[in-house]
């Protein structure tokens, strides 16, 4: 939709603002000019932690990605773009597209299920709110690996689903769900649903309930209120939730490994096999970095579009 912004329009404040100066330069600027510079000392442990455990491994991977594989699977440092040329070769294009497609579908399914769930807990949860939240987080109490394994038990030909459907005579032959794209998307959806639900809950919880009443008061029924008030105002939660679901889903290798088949390989499987079976750490690093770059660009475009779009 077009907006009727006149030139005299005041600056727009959007939910998620893309900061112009980089985070680092702003931090440094603050550290210098701030009258309470001592307070910034409190940031030091966090900064140290980030540098050590986030930046350092990334740096290692970056350095490796320009090297090459030694005879015994070791990394020979160097400076060549050969790995990147290989990484962007058309060979992996179907795999990358599949990864993005699976992750996108899983994200959409998570949003479709997580939004009503978060809405219910935030607005109608009453005193049981924390109970519901714990239920949402309950799957985290067992490992992702085990939870994914259990889906095999559920989905395989003699599994729970097929046994029940057959005994009810709804189907004659067992459905072939396991080791198909369906089972992978299902597994991803299941695995990342809490990552979608929690940020949605946080933003819906913050939503001023009187705004919903104001919308009703002005003649908007439940559907229009959802469309024009609730969803636009929970947009930060939607953005955060989709990112938290999509990013790990794109790079996931456990789900396609366990629930997928030969034609459901995702980019995470490729990277994993480079590090483990092929023992080509340099190539694996280059693939990782390429994936990160593609993700960063798509996230940037996505956030900019969502954040600035006038949804009303």
């Amino acid at each position: 939709m077009t907006s009727l912004e006149s030139p005299a329009a005041p600056p727009q404040s959007s939910a998620i603002a893309i900061e112009k100066p980089g985070l680092l330069s702003r931090l440094v600027g603050r550290l210098r000019g701030h009258p309470f510079a001592a307070a910034n000392l409190l940031l030091l442990p966090t900064m140290a932690w980030l540098v050590l455990f986030l930046m350092l491994p990334l740096l290692v991977i970056l350095v490796y990605s320009f090297g090459s594989r030694g005879t015994y699977g070791d990394v020979v440092l160097g400076f060549s773009f050969a790995n990147y040329v290989k990484a962007f070769s058309p060979l992996w294009l179907p795999t990358i597209l599949r990864s993005f497609g699976f992750a996108a579908l899983a994200t959409i399914l998570c949003l479709a299920m997580g939004y009503p769930l978060a809405y219910f807990i935030a607005l109608h949860g009453g005193r049981k709110k924390s109970v519901y939240l714990i239920l949402v987080m309950l799957p985290f109490w067992t490992s992702y690996l085990i939870r994914t394994y259990s889906w095999i038990v559920i989905l395989r030909s003699q599994g729970v689903v097929n046994t029940v459907l057959q005994s009810l005579h709804i189907i004659d032959d067992p459905l072939n769900i396991l080791n198909t794209p369906y089972s992978v998307i299902l597994g991803l959806t299941y695995g990342f649903l809490p990552f979608m639900t929690l940020p949605l809950y946080a933003s819906l919880e913050r939503l001023d309930k009187s705004l919903i009443e104001a919308s009703w008061d002005l003649g908007a029924n439940r559907f229009w209120t959802l469309l024009k008030v609730t969803i636009p105002l929970s947009l930060p939660g939607i953005i955060a939730g989709t990112l938290l679901t999509f990013i790990p889903a794109v790079g996931d290798f456990v789900t396609p490994d366990l629930l997928g088949g030969p034609d459901t390989q995702m980019i995470g499987n490729v990277i994993q096999s480079q590090f483990l079976s092929a023992r080509d750490w340099s190539y694996g690093s280059a693939l990782s970095f390429s994936l990160m770059a593609i993700l960063l660009v798509s996230i940037y475009l996505y956030v900019r579009r969502m954040g600035s779009e006038d949804l009303v």
């Binding site: 404040s13 705004l211 009443e213 009703w216 008061d217 003649g219 908007a220 949804l311």
Partner: protein, 377 residues
């Protein structure tokens, strides 16, 4: 019932064990500026929310323009609310906030634009139409909220303490503006406030509420001059209360204050003879005379001693001890002469309190059975 914009018929609202509104009967005429006045927690907001449709009455019926709206959701009722917290949509600019209701009515684009412009002109915010609510001052936000509701031309506009968040000066100014707007648009206003002065200056009629019940409904002068209950006499302005019992003397009512003191009361005074009642006298109706000074015939007269003097500029407030009744009276005197002319009474001075019997208000004693039946009549 059809003559009323809003008619509440025995409306009760309970929240679990709490009764927020109890058996409320109220008819509000079209075009009226009607106020709900009462202390915090007396059920004003709850009443408004039931009219708007956000709460369902536990009992009773609500008629809007003659039709029962009990089953209608808020978005199907022809009422609009100005919320205490304004509840402006933070993601929409002023113009889109105001246009929100009209868009749902599927009006033509140019019609929406014209009405939004008119509404913004009414509240003098035309040049801020592109601003987001967060970029406006509290007073401006209040006016946007008003425009957003008014633009839909509802049959009733509900205002829940709309000026509560504003400072005193802005409040005064907005009170006048609201009055003007009400005159201009001719829509029925139901205005909630706990500020008696605000209610008195703005309203055509006021319902005084206490603990979920309507104590009295009337025009401002009536509530002040003829309060029906002790609560009203104490909540709107102040009163001196004296307990006693009611006696009859032919055409006159006579009230026995004890200690041999009797005062004449208006014949139509409430309460039955012999029953416990309370006498209420407004502080400004009482005049002070020097001891020995001749007091006009027929006035109620008491002897007292000045305890406390508070100079208030326009008036002076005295606290006067009356030994026969062993209680204190509050008396307000106009400062007609300059205070420097030593016209003020000083603490310790003996004095006489006198007032005309027509100012005596006899009220059913607090907590007596009669108190509740009074306002139902």
């Amino acid at each position: 019932m059809d003559d009323f914009a809003i008619y509440l018929d025995g409306v009760t609202k309970r929240f679990g064990p709490v009764t927020a509104v109890e058996r409320m009967d109220l008819g509000i005429a079209r075009g009226e500026f009607f106020s709900l006045l009462g202390p915090s927690g007396c059920g004003k907001t709850t009443t408004l929310r039931m009219i708007a449709g956000f709460e369902e009455p536990s009992e009773g019926a609500i008629f809007l323009d003659g039709t029962d709206v009990a089953k209608l959701p808020p978005f199907r009722r022809n009422v609009n609310t100005v919320f205490q917290s304004y509840a402006l949509f933070p993601h929409l600019n002023v113009e889109k906030n105001v246009a929100f209701g009209l868009k749902r009515k599927k009006l033509a684009r140019h019609e929406i634009k014209r009405r939004v412009t008119d509404a913004l002109r009414l509240v003098e915010l035309e040049e801020r139409r592109q601003y987001k609510p967060s970029q406006l001052s509290g007073g401006m936000q209040q006016r946007v909220a008003l425009a957003r509701a008014l633009v839909n031309l509802p049959s009733v506009l509900l205002l829940d303490e709309p000026l509560g968040a504003l400072d005193l000066k802005l409040r005064r100014q907005m009170q006048l503006e609201l009055k003007h707007i009400h005159k201009d648009v001719g829509i029925t206003f139901i205005y909630v406030t706990h500020d008696q002065e605000e209610a008195l200056t703005m309203s055509d009629r006021i319902a005084v509420m206490n603990a979920g019940r309507v104590e009295q409904v009337g025009v401002p002068e009536d509530l002040y001059e003829h309060p029906a209950t002790r609560f009203v006499a104490g909540f709107i302005g102040t009163s001196n209360f004296i307990e006693g019992s009611l006696e009859r003397d032919g055409d006159h009512g006579l009230m026995n204050l004890g200690e041999g003191q009797r005062v004449l009361v208006p014949a139509a005074a409430g309460g039955s003879a012999g029953g416990p009642v309370e006498l209420a006298v407004r502080p400004e109706k009482i005049r002070l005379y020097e001891v020995g000074q001749e007091v006009p015939e027929g006035l109620c007269l008491l002897r007292g001693k000045v305890r406390d003097v508070v100079y208030l500029g326009m008036t002076t407030q005295y606290t006067i001890e009356v030994p026969v009744l062993s209680r204190q009276f509050t008396v307000l005197e106009q400062n007609v002469e300059a205070a420097s002319d030593q016209t003020l009474w000083v603490p310790g001075e003996e004095t006489q309190l006198a007032w005309h019997p027509s100012h005596n208000r006899v009220l059913p004693a607090e907590g007596s059975a009669g108190a509740q039946e009074e306002d139902a009549a």
